[in-house]
């Protein structure tokens, strides 16, 4: 799926600067435990999470996560968004719950 398709599927807003909406995302992983992301996520995947602190961006960078979706309208602060911009990691926010977010993306064919 492209980032644009993910955005449309989730009615999400893009809150980071450097987004390539044609970016292709092959896999997704959802977690609020960053060590789980480090241990189990697949490289070049989409991270779906409630957490909005800077450690999420650091974790994404280290684990080669391509983009992040924050669920339930959780918005990171300016510091976190700025770090994501620096690391060129696109950030999306959706009002959907994590359950609904995963369900909708799964329905569209995105797998973990």
């Amino acid at each position: 799926m492209t980032l644009d398709e993910i955005k449309n599927t989730l009615n999400a807003a893009v809150i980071s600067k450097r987004e390539d909406m044609n970016l292709n995302i092959a896999r997704a992983y959802c977690a609020d435990l960053m060590s789980d992301v480090l241990a189990f996520s697949i490289t070049n995947s989409l991270l779906i999470t409630h957490l909005t602190n800077t450690q999420v961006i650091r974790t994404a960078e280290i684990a080669d996560v391509k983009a992040i979706v924050f669920v339930q309208s959780k918005r990171p602060d300016i510091e976190t968004i700025a770090l994501a911009d620096t690391k060129k990691i696109p950030l999306l926010v959706t009002y959907l719950s994590m359950y609904e977010t995963c369900g909708k993306l799964y329905e569209k064919g995105l797998r973990s």
Binding site: L33, S35, D36, L38, T54, R58, T59, E61, D64
Partner: protein, 156 residues
């Protein structure tokens, strides 16, 4: 990658969550600049990040030394922390002594040391209760180096 050995150190400050992960991020960039294989970079970065977070969460301060040769990446993280009373227990997935506010940040789930072990080819932990912890891990850059004691690297 480059034939030359590269080494350096990052200083880590306990509870400095704004910069937590910055050292590992810099290490990752250094490895990318040296054209190290992507999967090796990911393993090294993940292990370094977990070690760095342990210092930030549990210690007053620490240092992360890195030594990169054509054969291997060696990382030594020394901290001024309270030490680990039972290393075997600390290596158990899910065992954690982290307070709730650390868990709310997404860490402290008891996966740190197991994650380091999983990503490293070799891991040594030396800890003294009240005296701090030294963690050393090695990731070999090619299969031929794996398992062979590299004296050049050891002498860095």
């Amino acid at each position: 990658m480059s034939d030359n050995a590269v080494e350096g150190v990052f200083f880590l400050t306990g509870k400095d969550f704004s910069n937590a992960g910055a050292a590992s991020s810099n290490l990752k960039r250094i490895l990318e600049d040296m054209s190290v294989q992507q999967d090796i970079i990911r393993r090294a970065a993940i292990a370094a990040f977990e070690a760095e977070m342990n210092v930030i969460i549990y210690a007053v301060a620490g240092m992360m030394h890195y030594y990169i040769t054509p054969e291997a990446i060696r990382i030594v993280v020394k901290d001024m922390g309270s030490g680990i009373p039972d290393i075997g227990l600390a290596m158990t997935e899910g065992y954690s002594t982290a307070p709730d506010y650390i868990r709310e940040m997404g860490f402290g789930s008891g996966m740190g040391l197991p994650n380091i072990k999983k990503n490293a080819d070799k891991l040594d932990i030396d800890s003294v209760v009240g005296g701090g912890t030294t963690l050393e891990f090695i990731i070999y850059l090619n299969k031929d180096s794996k398992g062979a004691e590299n004296e050049t690297l050891r002498n860095c």
